[in-house]
Structures are given as structure tokens and as C-alpha cells.
């Protein structure tokens, strides 16, 4: 068993597919650890991240976009942006990548039992939200209503497109999708996510709101959640920053006195509102 | 001798103008022989302005270093000029930036300061160690006068000025909208005595010399950052893909780094010597630049940073350029 904090585990890509296309396309990887012992001992919860990479190229911190309830594999949805993610996008089924982790804290899923959950995502920001959606869905009886609000610039930019119609069929679950500008044959909302949130007008009563997306969207969603009278400790978000070590040593991921890799990535707004660099 | 009151009056007049954003000059540092770049935004700031043999920084760096924050929607960009105090060598940096269109002539207001030589802090601290009290200095009759805590002391200029000043051919600013003080005599030698001794050694000896120096480089990049001519938006040293130079610190990468840095200044280096002054591990970086200055001058009869109308050396050619080295 590998206990070395910097030594990655080798994993094999089982399946890949594109979520979106274009210059900054998003590709999803389904991976399985090569070492059976690692596979069996791996435990993660929604919200956590892992350092994934390619030997000889480097590593990137990517949120795990599947729930442990889905099976003994991991899923990562990666946007093609920098050196490592560009190299990752070259990988196909059967190729090797490295994974170490899981890193960071988790959504407090036990605390939330019995509560309604509303997730508000934008663009690639849906990736860290997907595991909590799947987790709640798998344990539906333990949680209240689940509302998924998700938007992107165009319908082509939506991730996990195929999953929402199935999801909407689950009892006490609703899915609201949005795109920024009108498109033909688009049956859902047209406009920005914060506005859609106001239209849905969720009650803060016994409800947890989780948001993730581009900084500008997060800012407006937070403002709107405050308008909807959500208390600070019922609002959650996940942060991201550049990371290298993942274990609170290399120093770069701090927002104020918090290390995003150790103290985060999941934070309640109650915790973040006094952290100066949180939304920088 | 420079009249500080006149300088400060000029500064006040300058920053009061509507077309000036701020003025970059020097002020006394926090201790000893230090001075610091000084950004004069109001009349009060102008009172701290100085110009003395201790004003080592080449302020032209700040013309390209200032980050451009996004202009808020609806707001007009601030197109006012930046006023900048320049010594002879610094003025050449301004000219070279103009040549390369790194800055526009209408965006700077140049205050020329003829200079008789800048103190090399390391040389002075060897003679006068442990000086905490702030010291003022001035040029007087070919000497440099220092008001030391122990009393006034006069040093022969050539003993304590930086190496670059001993070979300086342009002590008077080559570009200026206004000049402070009188023009001074050119005293620097036109030769390359500072590097000739190294050139005459054989290749093994030269490498032994450089290996030792380059080995101690800690890659803090202060030589690059302080250089008024290093203003690329993205430097090849920072590029990771492709990684021209690995981030690992060893003789191989350090040598590649120093060769890249020096070569990127070929035909551009204006010999302000800032790279060498700031190097925390005292690598004689000027030697590399001076070697290229020498070659540029001998092979192409070119001196950068003199003529704002000139063309960048390596962006042009003459059909009859020397090519004896080509097989």
C-alpha cells in the first residue's frame, strides 16, 4: 500500500468522452486503479479532489466528479486549459494516468441528512456538484427535495447533458437548465443562472444551497441567495486555486489563512465571507 | 552641484500639470546608503525627492512594469504621461524602449539628470561598514562627498563608483524634455578593459570562470525583472510548454538561463548595469552584456539606445554584414 504522500498511484483510463467541444473542451475520464489494494482502500466523499496527471508532464488538482455510491471507479471531467490538462486530453481508453488523493474536505453529507438540497452550477462548475447530486440521489430516502439548477453559455457548453432527463424522473427531484441566449428547440430557461434562481424562488427553510461556477456567477448567486434569506451557514461553495502538493506544504493555494487543498475546497459562506481573498 | 530645491520645485510644477499622471524619481532609503524609487503623486511626495550619487535604480524599468488594470466599463483610459527622472544610462533605456515601441513618446515626460557616476554600494560598504544612519551624498569637483555619521568624507570618484560608470560614454541624458543641472564631462573609456582580461583566456579557463559563477545562481530572476529592456508580456523563462529552460536549478539550466537572458539583450543592452547590481549572489552579469555590446559595436557599428529613429539591430541586416565565420 502506497503511503508516500507525493508518490502517485497508477490508474488506467477505462472510458473517455467529450462533454463539450471547442478550444476549451471538457473531456470526462472514467479511471480505475491498477493496484487492487489501492482500489479497495480508496474512499472519498462528494466535494473531494484528486491530483491527477501524467508521468513526465505533471499533475493537476481536479475535483472527483463521481459519487462513491456509483462504484469502484473514479470520474474526472477536465477542461483543456494548461500543460497538464492538454496532455490529459490526449488520453484514450487503456492509457495510464496517475492519481493521488483524495484531497480536501467533503460536503458535510451526514449533517445534511433530512434536508433539502439545491445545487446551483455554471459551466465546468457542475463537476464538483455532480458527486453530491449522485450521492443524494443514491440515498434519496435520507434527504429531502433535490433541486438541480445548471446553466452554461450555450446548450453545447452544458456538461453531463444526458444525465438530467433521467435525474428529473427521480422522486422529489427537479432539474432546471438554462443557457444565456436563445436557441432553437431549447425547451428550458434562457438567461443567467442567478436570474433563474430567483425565478425558482427556493425557500431557505431546511435547505442547503451549494453553488459552483465562474467567480462572477458565484458572486451574483450569493447575492441572490441572501435576497432569498438563506442564512450564511446554509450556503456552500467550493473554491479552486493553483496547487502543486495537495497536502498543505507548497504554499500557493491559500485564500487568506486557509489552504484550499486542506481546509477546503468546500466552504460555507459563513466561513468565507471574512476571508479576504476567497473570491479573488 | 545639484540644487535639490530646484529639483523639487520642478517636480511640483511637473506633477501639477494636467497631462502628468505621476513622477518617478528617487528618495532616501530606509538606512545607510540606500535609496529607493519614489513615486511622486502629490506635492508632499515631491519634498522627499532627491538626486545623488546614491540613486542607483534605473527607473525606466517602471515604465513597462506597471500592471495595466482593466479600465472599468464606461470609463476613459488614463492617457496622461508618466514623468520620469533619468540618468544618462537610464535615458538610453527610454530611447531603446521607444525604438522597440515598448512605450510611446507621448506617454512619457523625461526629466534628464546628468550624472557623474553612481556609487557601488558593495564597494562603499567595504570601506564604510555597518552604517545604519541615512547618509547623503553629492558630487563635488570630481569627488564624491558623503555625510557619514563620523563626519564628512570625500572619496575619489573612481574608487567607489560602479563599474558601469567607469566605461560610461553617455553620462548626459540622450533624451529629455527638461534637464536638471549642467551637462557633465564624458570620462568613461571607450575600450573594453573590463572584459578583455577574460577574453584573452582560453575556452577552458573561461568556462571554469563562468561555471563557478553560474553555479551559484539561485534563479530569483531579479536580473531579468530589474532590466528595463526585459518587458515581454510572457518571458520564455516562465514558459512551461515548451519549457525552454527547466525550473530545476543546476549548472546546465542556469547556463542556458544566463545565455538566454544575455542573448535577448543583444543589440539592446544599454549598459545600465542594473542586472549586476541587484544580483544577490554577485554574478558579474555585465560581462556577458558587455561582450555583446562589444561585438555589436565592432561588427555592426551599432550603439543601442541613442537614436529614437534607429531600427532594432536584429530586426534588420545589411547585405554586406560580416560573415567570415560562415562555412
Amino acid at each position: 500500500m502506497n503511503t508516500h504522500p507525493y508518490k502517485p498511484n497508477i490508474a488506467t483510463v477505462q472510458d473517455t468522452w467529450y462533454e463539450t467541444f471547442g478550444d476549451r473542451c471538457i473531456k470526462t475520464f472514467k479511471v480505475v486503479f491498477d493496484d487492487e489494494e489501492v482500489r479497495d482502500n480508496w474512499t472519498h466523499l462528494p466535494g473531494q479532489c484528486a491530483m491527477i496527471g501524467i508521468l513526465g508532464t505533471g499533475e493537476s488538482m481536479i475535483s472527483i466528479s463521481c459519487s462513491p455510491t456509483e462504484g469502484k471507479f473514479l470520474r474526472f471531467s477536465v477542461m483543456r486549459a494548461g500543460k497538464v490538462t492538454k496532455a490529459l486530453h490526449e488520453l484514450e481508453a487503456g492509457d495510464k494516468m496517475t492519481v493521488r488523493g483524495p484531497y480536501g474536505n467533503t460536503f458535510p453529507v451526514d449533517e445534511w441528512k433530512g434536508k433539502n438540497i439545491i445545487t446551483i452550477g455554471g459551466g465546468i462548475g457542475q463537476a464538483p456538484l455532480r458527486p453530491i447530486i449522485e450521492y443524494v440521489r443514491a440515498k434519496k430516502s435520507e434527504y429531502g427535495d433535490l433541486t438541480v439548477v445548471y446553466g452554461a453559455r450555450t446548450s453545447a457548453d452544458l456538461c453531463f447533458k444526458g444525465e438530467f432527463s433521467e435525474l428529473a424522473k427521480v422522486e422529489n427531484t427537479s432539474c432546471r437548465l438554462s443557457i444565456d441566449a436563445k436557441e432553437e428547440d431549447w425547451p428550458h430557461y434562457v438567461g443567467f443562472v442567478p436570474a433563474l434562481l430567483m425565478e425558482i424562488n427556493p425557500s431557505p427553510e431546511n435547505t442547503i444551497a451549494i453553488t459552483c461556477g465562474p467567480p462572477i456567477m458565484i458572486n451574483f448567486v450569493l447575492q441572490n441567495l441572501k435576497k432569498l434569506n438563506f442564512p450564511d451557514d446554509q450556503i456552500y461553495t467550493t473554491l479552486e486555486n493553483r496547487m502543486k502538493c495537495g497536502i498543505g506544504k507548497c504554499g500557493r493555494c491559500n485564500a487568506g489563512n486557509l489552504y484550499v487543498c486542506k481546509d477546503g475546497p468546500v466552504f460555507s459562506y459563513a466561513m468565507l465571507k471574512n476571508v479576504p481573498e476567497a473570491f479573488a | 552641484m545639484l540644487d535639490l530645491d530646484k529639483l523639487r520645485a520642478l517636480a511640483k510644477e511637473t506633477i501639477s500639470r494636467d497631462d502628468i499622471k505621476y513622477l518617478i524619481g528617487w528618495r532616501q532609503g530606509t538606512y545607510g546608503f540606500r535609496t529607493s524609487p519614489h513615486f511622486v503623486g502629490n506635492l508632499e511626495d515631491a519634498e522627499q525627492l532627491i538626486f545623488s550619487p546614491l540613486c542607483s535604480s534605473n527607473l525606466a524599468t517602471y515604465l513597462t512594469l506597471a500592471e495595466k488594470r482593466p479600465v472599468p466599463r464606461g470609463a476613459q483610459p488614463d492617457t496622461r504621461r508618466v514623468a520620469i527622472m533619468v540618468k544618462g544610462c537610464d535615458s538610453r533605456a527610454v530611447v531603446q524602449q521607444l525604438v522597440e515601441q515598448g512605450i510611446k513618446r507621448e506617454s512619457v515626460y523625461v526629466i534628464g539628470c546628468p550624472c557623474e557616476g553612481i556609487i557601488d554600494r558593495r564597494k562603499l560598504e567595504e570601506k564604510v561598514p555597518h552604517t545604519l544612519e541615512r547618509v547623503e551624498a553629492r558630487w563635488e569637483n570630481g569627488k564624491i562627498i558623503l555625510d557619514l555619521p563620523a563626519g564628512r568624507a570625500a572619496f575619489p570618484r573612481d574608487e567607489i563608483v560602479a563599474g558601469k560608470c567607469l566605461t560610461c560614454r553617455y553620462p548626459n541624458p540622450v533624451i529629455a524634455d527638461v534637464t536638471v543641472g549642467e551637462d557633465v564631462e564624458v570620462r568613461g573609456s571607450a575600450g573594453f578593459e573590463d572584459i578583455n582580461w577574460l577574453e584573452v583566456k582560453n575556452a577552458q579557463e573561461r568556462w571554469a570562470f563562468w561555471r563557478d559563477k553560474v553555479n551559484s545562481c539561485i534563479r530569483c530572476y531579479s536580473c531579468r525583472n530589474v532590466c528595463p529592456m526585459c518587458y515581454c508580456a510572457e518571458c520564455i523563462l516562465d514558459k512551461l510548454n515548451p519549457a525552454w529552460i527547466q525550473r530545476s536549478v543546476n549548472v546546465s539550466e542556469n547556463t542556458a538561463f544566463q545565455l538566454a537572458r544575455a542573448f535577448h539583450l543583444a543589440g539592446r543592452c544599454i549598459e545600465c548595469g542594473e542586472c549586476e547590481r541587484v544580483c544577490p549572489v554577485e554574478i558579474p552579469l555585465s560581462h556577458l552584456n558587455r561582450k555583446l555590446v562589444k561585438e555589436v559595436s565592432e561588427q555592426f557599428a551599432f550603439t543601442p539606445g541613442i537614436d529614437p529613429e534607429a531600427k532594432p539591430l536584429l530586426a534588420g541586416y545589411r547585405p554586406n554584414d560580416r560573415e567570415a565565420f560562415i562555412l
Partner: protein, 143 residues
């Protein structure tokens, strides 16, 4: 250096002249030393001086940059620009103590198969004398 030292030479050849010249040498069955690793570039003006430094770092014992004769550049002035650049780079390398035999530049046209042979033979012979490049290759760094 020993007689049998076979230097590793990285050659940047311009597509229009020198590469064709080397090709002609080959098709004309002119024999020349096989020590070259040829990298075809569109123009000698495309060769960044950092290519030379990088080649030395990565294990080359010498570098050859070859382009069209002055005036014959496919892009009018690429080789003129390269000439200035490498005139300086050569001096800089030499100044830090890299043997001047390690950096070579030549003009070889598409019809000069024989000249190509002479250039390569000269470069390789010189490098055999100079020996392996030991100053700053990455290989020497103890990881």
C-alpha cells in the same frame, strides 16, 4: 581526443537550400560522415539561438545551422537575419567557454551536394578533435 570519438551533431537545415543540398548529396551517392541529426526547418531564420543552447544541453557535441546563400533566401531575408543573430550568439557561446568548433553555420544551396560533403566532413573532423561536449549537458547533472 581518441580517434574513434563519434560526435553527435544536430543540424538545422533550411528546407529550400541546405536540406535539398544534403538530399542531392545523398542521391548522388556522395559519402559523408553519418554523425548528423538533421532537423528540417523552413528557413535558417527560423532557428532560434536557444535551439543551439538546447541542443547542447540535450547531448549534442556540436550544432550546424545551414541555409541558402545570401540573396537566395526563399523568404527574401531570413538568412540575413539569421546571420546577424548567429554572429552574436557564436561570440557569446565562445565567451562563456564553449569551444568555437561546436557552433557552425554554412550556406549550402540545393545544387551543392559536394559542398555539403565538405562542410559536414569539416565540422565532424573538428568536433572529433574538440571531443565530447562536457560543459553543460543535462546528462552530467546528478539527479
Amino acid at each position: 581526443m581518441s580517434e574513434n570519438f563519434e560526435p553527435n551533431v544536430v543540424a538545422f537545415l533550411c528546407n529550400w537550400c541546405s536540406y535539398a543540398g544534403a538530399d542531392l548529396a545523398g542521391t548522388s551517392r556522395i559519402e559523408y560522415p553519418p554523425n548528423l541529426n538533421v532537423i528540417r526547418v523552413m528557413c535558417s531564420g527560423r532557428v532560434n539561438p536557444m535551439f543551439v543552447v538546447n541542443a547542447l544541453q540535450q547531448g549534442a557535441d556540436g550544432v550546424l545551422v545551414s541555409g541558402c546563400h545570401p540573396g537566395d533566401c526563399h523568404y527574401m531575408e531570413g538568412n540575413f537575419l539569421a546571420r546577424r543573430r548567429f554572429a552574436l550568439m557564436r561570440e557569446l557561446l565562445n565567451f562563456v567557454g564553449v569551444d568555437e568548433r561546436r557552433f557552425n553555420m554554412s550556406w549550402v544551396s540545393a545544387s551543392e551536394g559536394a559542398k555539403w560533403k565538405d562542410v559536414v566532413t569539416g565540422v565532424v573532423n573538428n568536433l572529433q578533435e574538440a571531443g565530447p561536449f562536457t560543459e553543460f549537458p543535462r546528462k552530467k547533472i546528478d539527479w
